[in-house]
Symmetry: C2
Amino acid sequence: MVELRPITEDNFFDAFHLSLAPGQEEFVSHPVRSLAQAYVNRNQCQPFGIYADGKMVGYVMVIYDYDVPEYDIWHMMIDKSEQGRGYGKEALDRVLEYIAIKPFGGSDRVALTCNKRNPAARNLYESRGFRATGAEDGDEIELAMTLGPRETED
Amino acid sequence: MVELRPITEDNFFDAFHLSLAPGQEEFVSHPVRSLAQAYVNRNQCQPFGIYADGKMVGYVMVIYDYDVPEYDIWHMMIDKSEQGRGYGKEALDRVLEYIAIKPFGGSDRVALTCNKRNPAARNLYESRGFRATGAEDGDEIELAMTLGPRETED
């Protein structure tokens, strides 16, 4: 059972203590650095702790790019001691559910970047419907998807 | 000529690149970590770049503690390549001028903490009127001052 909880003064220190696995530092920013970026983008983003069974196991930030416009997923990571349990997939589902609420603006487009040399992350994103757009920046490729109409219950 | 400029998306990357001198890492948080704390305290703090001749040479954060109430000075640092030029003293003067405007609340009390093994910092703060309050937390001692009435021009 994976859930997202906003980063606040009550849990930010747990985010400081999350660890990237060796070799992953080059692919994703540490949550401390991400939260510093959250400060300067504070009116258009929402950083979350990823929780499993009440414990913070990872981190992700959702930011709205008003210029495109689109929702961007930044800096998603699972602590090195908590990887391989499917938390990334569940967290991504929660992130897409959050974005479907359209907390900042009405765009249906969701985008992120992924390092070319990080196939595990790319497979995760593609399993949830993201596709390469062809845009690249150095080793980073852009993946994007369009949110479908929200399902309604009869 | 030292001035303070708010940290924004235009200059935060310069703050990421500031460097503490060897041995100072144990005394003060790096600006990246400070900005992460600024995110969770975003309604009661103001982080600044310290500029000399238009170049960012250091960092400082002012935060209002509504519980005391008081203004706190956090994480003031001068880049290792820019130390020894009096920028710390001038920056502290600018910080006290900023606090005198009372940007968050009406308290006249200004406090900070300083490591016992960092006499250079303590001398700087005492030269500007800060005095030890007797409060300690491990190796950190609290220094405080009370702002005087604002000078008015005739």
